[in-house]
Each structure stands twice: as structure tokens, then as C-alpha cells.
Subunit: 327 residues, 2 copies
């Protein structure tokens, strides 16, 4: 299987991206097409003695979309960007998936434009997979659409449900609509108008659910607009960072606690592994005709490797085929 | 100082409310007026040998607003509810603040109707105070208004800023508008339309901020609509519960870790104290002409006691007077 990787995307590109791709090629049994500035990529590969790695090749792209650049201008003026060239590889059948830690808006818009949307899906959505008390849950949209109509949320629910079933192997995934109370009369207009659509759908819809239940494991797919989803995504990052900081700060205050922390190291490691962004690697852009994994702009090698893993598993699960069947 | 407490509000009323009130009367040097069913309250007081406590008195109210009851129906049909009687005590000058763990919607609507709104504030908001890396931050609205107009968010910003300055003693509080990116072009329509209002205000407005920065301590007041705020509030609860569960589960797996956990007990205790809902006790309803603290429906004695503490401190800080000065 071939995965195209945007070597120029992200705050630590190309160093960390190339490093992550090398590990992925070794560990995941995939071929990697590194897309971007040939000279720079070769330089990075050389650092790791991987210039002649048969499972890694370079596809040159002369342009780079900057992290803060407007997606519209990127699409118009940068046809030869690493994002666009990478997407083309998938379109032309030269790769089966694309991974980028670059400008999220540009990746999203370019993928939608370049690959097109799945039948009946008007707005692609970004989905994250999180651990829960009972397994894994899917949350979407986490940022593709800051403003949504009820029908879009319904479409997200279908995308998330199929993803949960096919990739996470959830049997008849339970879908919940994120609101500020389980009662139907609570919530905002979007929730009130989306509720009847979800009720009338063929999904296993369980009703309105609260954000405190995301990790409970009773619901498998949580849908919301991209403003709320992105807010939750970034809040999770902030609160975990704050908690780890608090724990570290308190531990340093006395030596008995430091000893305790030493004994607890494997516990903390295991939990960090479970909750670490780098471990889940990336979010999937669902609703486009191709496998596209969007990784955090701050991704380092480990996150890139895991994003490639998500792409690989999505290809193997043939989610595109499943979307097409049901769409 | 006299604080009226809704003895019938919350999942654990009247037992836990009365228990919390007894502790508050003892520790906080306040007089408590317990509002609700006289017989039931007397029974609870008797359990704790506090029937003759001179700092606790009972004000009978014959009705109770149920947790799931519609605020509109409560206001119409339950003039003698513990909520309404408690609010009246403040209105009539017989108490200086009101605390309730009852039906949030009913408390909010009744307080607004009964006390009236502060000049220039069209919508009261619920504010929470959270710890941050550098002190404490204020987040509002966390649930009073699921749908807001830009001018309401601006009003929340004024309320939050004054609260932060007067009660938390923040000098020239920095106000941030919660969005999904610091860039002005990111966010939804509400953010886009609120931004110019905040920029033109006399507040120390620092621009759009992300939810990951809530605990950073660089911003003192975060404003958003009540749908987003409530979503974050409940998500914080869910994620902390999940994390504690993960830690406990991992620790049980080996005895060295259990020993480590024992040594770390003071650390965990200190952190739990910092992040525990019961420790902060309650959220303030800002924008009404009175001090009203809304405590979680699940509040137990400790949370009630701390909610009474928040009410006491708000009275002492004379925030109503400050609102009036500036309003």
C-alpha cells in the first residue's frame, strides 16, 4: 500500500515529517511517497541514512502552503503545492491515502475540490477518534465547518456511524447529538432543528447527549457543528496539559511524592499513551472521495507515523467503498 | 451577614443542603436562612443537633420546583416555592444573597423576574471561576442563554470583567472571545459579529482566544454563548472523571504502583482540591439585582458550604454596587 505524505506541512516540516515517514515505512509495512521540495527531503532522508530506502520515494512539489495562508488563495495560486500534488497522487491512483500536518483549511478545501465529495454529502467533516471507558468513540465535526445546517449534522452522523462500524468495528453504533441537556427542549436552534432529522433517520440514534458523556462509552458517535467540536478538541488539549502541569508541580514539592511518582511512572506512561495526541495521530476528513488524514500542525515524528497508520487502516477497512454502498 | 439557602433544591435536598448550611454557619461566620418545608428541615437539623443553632433559622415555603420542571410553569404555578421565597427574602432585605442547587432554569428565570436585571444588561449570565496556571479565570455564559446575540456577549464581557476585578482582584482583567482560532477570520457568525463590539468597548480586550488557553492564565475572562460554555463546563467534568478512572484502573494493576499511589496521596488530594467541583461550590448568576449562587444539582454538603462561601464573598466585594457604578 502506498501513502502520500505532505513533507512540507506542519510546524516541524520537513524534519519531523520525514522522520515519522521513515519509521512508518519500517514498522507499518507501507510505501511512502514524500511530497515536497526534493532537495530538502533528500537532505532529511540522508540524515537518517534512508536515501536508498526502497519503501520511500520522493515526489517533487515546488510550492508550500503556509500555515496561516488563506485556503482560497492557496488553491488559486499554488497548484504545485505539496498538498495539491499529494492529493493528485491519490486521484491518479498512484497512492491510496494522503497525510498532511499542514494548513488544515487548505488541505480540506483542496481535497474537496480535487477529489470531490461523496454522494449526498454536502460538507466533508473532520472526525477524531477518542478513547472512552468502553473502547473508542468518534466525534465530528471538529473543525471543518464552523457553521452548519441541520442537514449537515445529519450527514456527519451517517459518516461517523459508518466509520465507527467499519473501522472501529462497533456493532450498530449509537449516535448522539451533542447538546446541553438530554431533554429535547434544551439546546439551541441547530439542535432543535437537527433532532427530528436524526430521529427520522435509519441511524441508531439515541437522542441528545451531554459533553460529559463523551468518555462514558455508552454512545459511539457524537455529532455537533465544527465550532463546538473544535472547541472541545482544543479544550481537551488544554485541560490535560493543565492537569499534567499541576501533578508535576505538586510532585516536586516533596521527596516522598517524588518516590511515589517514580513508582507510578509506568501508570503515567500508559495513561499518557492512551490520551496522547501523538498516539492517535490524526483526524480523518470524512465525506471526500479519498482517504485524507489531517494531523496537528505541531505534529512530531510519532504523530506523523500514527497518522500514516490511521490512513493505512482506513484504506484496509475500505471505508470509501462502504460510504459509496450506503450513500 | 444573612444568606438564604434553598433547602429543597438539588438531588440531595434537603439532607445535604442542611448539612452544608450547618457547616457554613459554623465556619464562615454567616447566618443562614433555610428556605423550604419546615418539618423536613427541622428533622434534618435535629439529626445534627442544630435545631437550636442561633445562626440558623427556617423560613417555610410550601412548594418545591422539581429538577426537570419547566421554569415557565414553575414561575406561574409555584409562587410559594423555596426558590421564590428565598429570592423574596433578598428582595425584602432580609437576606443578602441566595444559594440554590435546584432547577437552574427556574432559579435563573425567577431571579431575573423577581429581582430584575442590572441596567444595560439584557440577559443575565452564569459565570464559573476556574483555576488556571496563574490564578483564577472567569468563564461565562455557561448555560443561562443557549442562544445569544453579539450585544449579549459584550454584556457578559462587562459582567465578567467587573467580577474578575472586584472579586478575584485582577488588575485590568484581560478579556478574550472564545473562538476556534486566534485569527479574526476564523470562527462563526456570532464571533465575527461580536468581535467589533468588543474591540470598540472600554474593556481590556485581547482578541479571539482558543479553548486550549482557558487554563493558561494569560487571559482572565473568557466569553462565549451559553451553549458553548455549558458544553465546556460539562466536558471538563467528563474528562476529569475519565482521567481519574484511568489512573485508578492502572494503579490497581500492580502493587508497586499501589505503593506509589499511596506516597502520592497528598499530591492527588491537593490536585483534587484544586479541580474539584465541590471546592468551587457554585456559579454566580451575574446581571441580576442580587447575589445568586447556583450550585450543581448533584451538590453535596461540601459544595453547598462552598456555594455559601461564594455568596458571602460576592456580598463582601459589593459586586452589585460595582455593577451599578459602571452600568
Amino acid at each position: 500500500m502506498k501513502i502520500a505524505v505532505d513533507a512540507m506541512g506542519g510546524d516541524h516540516a520537513p524534519e519531523e515529517v520525514v522522520k515519522g515517514a521513515i519509521v512508518a515505512a519500517k514498522e507499518l509495512n507501507v510505501e511512502i511517497l514524500l511530497v515536497g521540495d526534493q532537495v530538502k527531503i533528500e537532505h532529511e532522508l540522508a540524515k537518517h541514512h534512508a536515501k536508498n530506502d526502497p519503501s520511500i520515494s520522493i515526489v517533487h512539489a515546488s510550492q508550500v502552503v503556509a500555515m496561516g495562508e488563506s485556503p482560497v488563495s492557496a488553491i488559486k495560486t499554488k497548484k504545485d503545492s505539496s498538498i495539491n500534488v499529494g492529493l493528485n497522487l491519490v486521484k491518479e491512483g498512484k497512492a491510496e491515502g494522503f497525510v498532511s500536518a499542514g494548513n488544515t483549511g487548505a488541505v480540506m478545501s483542496s481535497a474537496t475540490l480535487n477529489w470531490g465529495r461523496i454522494k449526498d454529502i454536502e460538507r466533508p467533516a473532520i472526525a477524531v477518534v477518542w478513547p472512552s471507558k468502553k473502547g473508542h468513540i468518534v466525534l465530528l465535526d471538529v473543525g471543518a465547518n464552523a457553521e452548519c445546517k441541520p442537514k449537515h449534522i445529519l450527514q456527519f452522523a451517517y459518516l461517523g456511524s459508518i466509520f465507527s462500524e467499519q473501522v472501529l468495528h462497533t456493532k450498530s453504533p449509537k449516535v448522539g447529538l451533542l447538546s446541553i441537556g438530554e431533554e429535547e427542549e434544551k439546546g439551541n436552534t441547530l439542535v432543535a432543528e437537527t433532532l427530528p432529522l436524526l430521529k427520522a433517520s435509519q441511524l441508531n440514534f439515541v437522542g441528545n447527549v451531554e459533553s460529559k458523556d463523551i468518555f462514558g462509552g455508552e454512545v459511539d458517535v457524537f455529532v455537533c457543528d465544527g465550532f463546538v467540536g473544535n472547541m472541545l478538541l482544543k479544550f481537551a488539549e488544554g485541560i490535560l496539559d493543565f492537569m499534567y502541569g499541576l501533578i508535576k508541580g505538586e510532585i516536586k514539592k516533596n521527596w516522598l511524592a517524588m518516590l511515589g511518582a517514580l513508582l507510578l511512572k509506568p501508570v503515567f506512561k500508559s495513561i499518557q499513551k492512551k490520551t496522547d495526541y501523538d498516539e492517535c495521530g490524526g483526524a480523518l476528513l470524512l465525506g471526500v472521495k479519498g482517504i485524507c488524514v489531517i494531523s496537528h500542525g505541531r505534529s512530531k515524528a510519532k504523530a506523523i507515523k500514527n497518522a500514516i497508520k490511521v490512513a493505512k487502516e482506513s484504506v484496509e477497512a475500505n471505508i470509501l467503498g462502504k460510504f459509496a454502498e450506503i450513500g
